[in-house]
């Protein structure tokens, strides 16, 4: 093992000792024992190399060059500075985290329907100790994987949401993470737990933004349980600074007849790794995994998805699209597991990329492991360029070259955005990506 890796591993172990001292009462709660086991496990696992099949295309070496400090307090930021991240006209409950630390002052939550629990994980450790202890870490284990271990070790807060059976959240819940580094390279480890009761309905919007362009390391884990017949839409927007390291694991468990949609939009970050795993544990589930990413400069954006068809009669639909410019690098690894029992599975996967420069590239790996025989599975991957004929058609009508480019790129992403049913969010996002396209056209 090279010395840099060893040193940085020791760095996080030392940082953990300091972090413990800042937890005060938190260190005496049962979860702290889990943190300790997690840091020990992290020390055993170490950071993955590209020899590890799961990290074949994504070299984490740049991450290891930094000594990130676990966040204990967040800087004050003015409410107005959130304006660019609020979707005009969006009527939502809002929880705001600054550098991973909850900000009550910036958050606003209305009267929620009876029985809903919405709190920070930090509070929930004491107020809903039993539920949290039971559910947290049930689906994402620190045992198996380095970044989950590191998250568990440094998990201090995040969102705890529990929606009782039959309850419909009328307003979307917006979880807004902003970071402001002030030159301090920080580590944040948001840990979220979302429990959706049977036949409940909810829309989540998760946003990750940066205010000052600094370097940070966000390593989050989100566990989602979708009860029988529940309907959940989960929109995730990642527009961190171009210096940010963004690692996110989302694990979804679906019960009978539930419907979960994830729409993941990645625009920022220097090194981005999203793991999205969906376990279709009971029959007649539907899962939609939708994603769009735009990378420029030397960005690396890696989407790893895993859909586990464990039982018969479920349907999964996956569509990821990316546009890569300059020397940007995209990775799409889409694993679909159809277990022997999972007859009558419908699994559709499509991954499309447009490369705008000769130095941009995509590694695309569909991984279908099908052990049942009566199934409908399809996958496809395409890599292309913007269509010259279309470009000429737009320009021949007077539309400038740059704007024509942006229109065609947005058109390519259109079917992804159409999965976002909240108009205010979709419209703002479309504007945002066009702004990004035009900065770099």
């Amino acid at each position: 093992m090279d010395s840099e890796k060893k040193d940085i591993r020791e760095w996080y172990q030392t940082a953990f000792a300091d972090f413990e001292n800042t937890l005060n009462g938190g260190a005496s709660l049962p979860f702290h024992a889990v943190r300790k086991k997690a840091i020990a496990r992290f020390a055993e696992l170490g950071f993955p190399s590209t020899r590890n099949e799961d990290w074949k295309y994504t070299n984490v070496a740049p991450l290891l060059k930094h000594q990130f400090q676990p966040v204990t307090e967040a800087p004050d930021i003015a409410a107005e500075s959130l304006a660019p991240f609020l979707f005009k006209g969006l009527d939502a409950d809002r929880l705001v985290f600054v550098n991973g630390v909850y900000s009550e002052a910036l958050s606003s939550v209305s009267n929620l329907p009876d029985g809903i629990i919405l709190d920070t994980l930090e509070n929930a450790f004491t107020t809903h100790a039993e539920t949290v202890t039971q559910a947290l870490g049930k689906t994402v284990s620190y045992e198996d994987e380095t970044f989950s271990a590191l998250n568990t070790a440094f998990a201090r807060t995040g969102v705890f949401l529990s929606v009782p059976a039959g309850v419909v959240l009328e307003r979307p819940l917006y979880i807004l993470h902003v970071s402001k580094t002030d030159g301090r390279e920080f580590l944040a480890a948001p840990r979220n737990l979302f429990l959706f009761g049977d036949n409940s309905q909810a829309r989540l919007v998760e946003g990750h933004y940066n205010l000052d362009g600094g370097t940070s390391f966000k390593n989050s884990v989100t566990e989602i349980s979708v009860g029988a017949g529940a309907l959940v839409e989960h929109i995730r927007i990642q527009d961190e600074s171009k210096e940010a390291f963004h690692f996110a694991t989302t694990q979804v468990e679906q019960a009978t007849g539930s419907n979960y949609t994830s729409v993941a939009i990645d625009l920022g970050g220097t090194l981005v790794r999203n793991n999205l795993n969906v376990h279709l544990a009971e029959e007649r589930c539907e899962a939609h995994l939708i994603g769009f990413y735009f990378g420029s400069g030397r960005q690396l954006i890696d989407n790893h998805t895993m859909i586990d068809h464990a039982v018969p009669n479920c349907e999964s639909n996956e569509l990821y699209k990316g546009i890569l410019d300059d020397r940007a690098h995209g990775v799409f690894n889409g694993k679909v597991m159809v277990r022997p029992d999972a007859q009558k599975t419908n699994a559709f996967q499509q991954n499309q990329a447009i490369l705008l420069s000769d130095d941009a590239h995509i590694d695309s790996k569909p991984q279908l492991e099908i052990f049942a025989d009566d199934v409908k599975c399809s996958h496809g991957a395409t890599v292309g360029e913007l269509d010259d004929e279309s470009l000429f058609y737009l320009r021949a009508r007077g539309i400038g070259e740059q704007e024509a480019h942006a229109m065609l790129r947005l058109a390519f992403a259109r079917d992804i955005f159409n999965y976002i049913k909240i108009d205010a969010v979709r419209e703002r996002l479309e504007e945002l990506v066009v702004e990004r396209f035009n900065n770099k056209a």
Binding site: L394, R395, A396, G398, E403, M407, A413
Partner: protein
């Protein structure tokens, strides 16, 4: 308005236009006829600024400017319009957004105020009515899944919105039924004035019954081999192209 001298154009090292000369004055309608593959679309596309076509010789002056030196969008903003023989389908871009963006780019160039969504919609609806197109096409993606005839009408709709000075119609009549043909011709005739000009590429006399040309030119193998008035089109309809094929190039 448009002056073309000795235009030579190649695609992938094959010479397609071999010295075309043409003078177009405001208010005129020129028809260009000729057999398949003779270079009519190449000619039309070069005027609109398509980059795959390499101009190897000759010059084109449009309203006193060197047209060949201008980007496609600059030409459009200066009033050049090409109705494509094969309009492109662009899924994901709505016709209304496309046309609003185009019109506002042209208006900006002319120093006119931008139209907002409401103002544009009002204008677009009027133009849709003019060519008897259902408003729903405004909300559909550009040409996406349109029938051949709908695509051609959409070209005329765009022309009606953008009000060009020089419109080049490349076989806009092909694939149209009699009603559509009349509607398209009406669209052209509504726009017609003493200030603007048309170049109409067609294989058939029937469009020229509605849009009466001042001049008819025959393009064969990259050269204009015969020019005349509207009676030339009638003769071509009756006798085909064989009798002109061996003519030398003429200066139109």
């Amino acid at each position: 308005m448009l002056s073309i001298k000795n235009l030579h154009v190649s695609v992938e090292d094959t010479e397609i236009l071999k010295g075309v000369n043409l003078e177009v004055k405001p208010g005129e309608i020129h028809a260009i006829m000729g057999p398949n593959g003779s270079g009519k679309s190449t000619f039309a596309n070069v005027l609109a600024g398509r980059e795959e076509y390499e101009v190897t010789d000759g010059e084109v002056t449009y309203l006193g400017q060197d047209l060949l030196d201008m980007a496609p969008e600059e030409r459009a903003r200066e009033g050049v319009f090409l109705a494509f023989q094969y309009p492109v389908e662009i899924p994901g871009v709505s016709t209304s957004h496309f046309m609003k963006t185009a019109l506002n780019a042209i208006r900006e160039h002319r120093g006119e105020e931008q139209l907002d969504a409401m103002q544009f919609l009002k204008l677009a609806r009027e133009k849709m009515q003019l060519i008897e197109m259902d408003e729903k096409f405004l909300h559909r993606s550009v040409n996406d899944g349109f029938s051949g005839g709908e695509k051609k009408r959409n070209e005329i709709f765009q022309m009606a919105v953008l009000e060009p000075k020089l419109a080049i119609l490349d076989e806009t009549d092909s694939g149209l039924d009699i009603d559509a043909l009349r509607i398209v011709a009406n669209g052209v005739n509504k726009l017609r004035s003493s200030d603007n000009a048309f170049i109409v590429v067609t294989h058939y006399q029937r469009l020229l019954n509605y849009i009466v040309p001042d001049y008819v030119h025959v393009l064969v193998d990259g050269r204009i081999v015969e020019s005349g008035d509207k009676n030339l089109a009638l003769r071509l309809e009756e006798q085909g192209y064989d009798w002109v094929k061996d003519n030398d190039a003429v200066t139109a």
